[in-house]
Each structure stands twice: as C-alpha cells, then as structure tokens.
Point group: C3
Chain length 130, copies 3
C-alpha cells in the first residue's frame, strides 16, 4: 500500500495529483489494471475532472461553496466544518484510474484531483493496484 | 462474494458498518488490498464519513433532506421516493476500504456507513477483496 | 482493458449499459469478482440506478438540470459546460459491479448507466475485472 501526502493552501481547493499517480503506477511494475486511490480524511475528497482550463476547478469549487454553505444551515456539529464533511460525501473518498503498459488511461482532458474542503491541511492518500 | 444485511429504523439515516467490514477483512486471510463494498439497492448509498460526533451524520442527512425534498419537485415516478433514488446517485452505491495486515487503513475519524434514504428497510451489501 | 463506445442523443440523458457490462463479464472467463468501469470524459458520469420505471431517470436528470443550471451562475470556464463538469464530479466517473458465475450481482431493480451531461456525444468507457 503506497502512501503520498498532499498539501492544499486554501480552505477549498482542487489540487492535481495526476503526476503522483503516474509515478506510482510506472514504478509498480504492473502491466495493466486499475490504480485505486483512497483519502484518509472526512473533510476532503478525490475526483477526476478537467485539467486544461483552471476555470473548471474554480467553477466547481465555487458551486460547491454556494450549494453547501459553511454557515447559516443550523448545523449541529461542534466544529464549523459540517459543510466540508457533506462535500466529502458528495464528491467521494476514492477514485479508480485504469492503466496499461505503465501509462494512465485517462481521457484527453482528465486529471486526478484532491478536493480540499477544510484546508489548508496536509492529507494522506493511499494507492493500491488491482 | 461475502454478503451482509443491515437494517435502518428511519427513512433517512446513516448506519455505521465499519465493524462488519473489519470482520470480513480479518476473516478473509488476505494480507493487503482493498475491500470493495456494493449495495444492491437504488434508494440508499454507501460512504465513508466521520464516526466520532454523531452530529456529522445528522447534519449530512439534514442537508440532503432539504436539498433533495421528497415532495414538491413535480417528480413523475409513481412511487414517492424519487428523492431517495437521486440521493443514491449523489452518494454512490459503492466504497473501497484499503487494509493491511488484516487492519482497515481508515483515517483517525473515518467510518464506513450505509446511507438509508427510503427506510426503514433491510439492505444487502456485498463485499469483495481486490 | 476492454473498451466500449456509447452515444447519447440528448444533452442530458441516462443511457443504460447493463447489457454491455454483462457481455464483457460473461466473455471474460472470470468466475467471481467485480467489474470496474471508468469513463474517459469530464462532462459525463457513471452510476447504478433503477432500470424499471423510466421516470426515475427523467426525475434524476431533471433534478440535476435544475440544481446545477447551465447558465446564470457566473461560471468562468470559456465553454458553456461548467454545469456538466460539476455534475460529473457529483455523480462520479466510475462504478463497480460485482459478479459471480458470470452473472452480475445487481439488485432486483438495478441497472448500470452512463449519465450524459453535455451530449449528444460518443463516449468511451473502459472495463476491467478485479
């Protein structure tokens, strides 16, 4: 089980981790399969999204920011981050990335992202090949 | 393919199933990998979320309850549970849980949950190791 | 790594692909496991949902259409499809489908769907068994 650490510098931010996935898959010696990623935290998520125009990231973060506001929802949780827990449930804590001959089989515009919803923080992501 | 049955006692409820996943992984004899869970129903979901403060669960259920209301959306489905189908699509029907040496590699605050959106009902969850 | 191509004929549409998954699993020779699907695009998604009443599909598409409107959110992305990128993140780009003895272990009402959010387009979906 491989582990990487990723740090966001804002409360809500998408941080691309495609090169970290590529490096793990390339070094694993596996010819074909899927790389399964899992983030060990409950106020962030993992997704696959567009990595060309950075406005896609900011539009996505902005939409989630408005749709699940941090305050004003009468949340009962003692920390002011129920919004981040909810965004984590909506986005999900894992992704799969297929590969063949050591190359990720991502589409033309796809990248792998950590979605930080309660940063800035360092996060641990596990990777496993199946 | 291992199967467990979980019953919620409310219409919308997060029921923790971490111990069931631990027991399956521990008994499987596998040293390292991921446990893949899949729920065989279309009005509930599976997620990983915080298992410390129960208010996180109620805040999450409350947010989804308000964001996808059961009535008043002019849903066409003949049963009054389109909201539950939609919540199932948003949360997802499967999760992966990495493990090593028979121990789940969950973060400090993570638990595995069935998210019931149209209970009370008994649900079947399948588990497979990869 | 098996690949299929699926075409939707509307901008937003759920297209059932259960028979394509069945055919791949049946022909793979694997006795038991999970079929992992991944869509190589950032403006659509994959999910498991009800395949009996088509109103579930239209209710789901209608809810997402209203909740993530194409226009009027001050999206900055230069293409008018930030809504589709966001729906893709919410629904997810992959699903797992367990099987045994060559038969998919879907629940009584479950089907596998491509969720198109920026069609009509042809999409490529990869399948791998683990």
């Amino acid at each position: 089980m491989h582990s990487i650490r990723i740090t966001a510098d804002q409360r809500e931010q998408m941080v691309e981790i495609t090169s970290e996935v590529e490096a793990f898959v390339d070094g694993s010696g596996h010819k074909e399969g899927v790389c399964i990623l899992f983030v060990q935290h409950t106020t962030c998520g993992l997704t696959v999204s567009e990595n060309a125009d950075p406005d896609v990231k900011s539009d996505t973060i902005s939409f989630l920011h408005k749709s699940v506001p941090q305050f004003g929802q009468n949340f009962k949780h003692f920390e002011p981050n129920s919004d981040a827990h909810i965004k984590s449930v909506l986005v999900g804590q894992s992704v799969v990335v297929p590969f063949s001959d050591g190359e990720l089989l991502l589409g033309r515009w796809q990248g792998v992202f950590l979605c930080e919803f309660d940063g800035p923080r360092e996060r641990t992501i596990l990777m496993h090949i199946a």
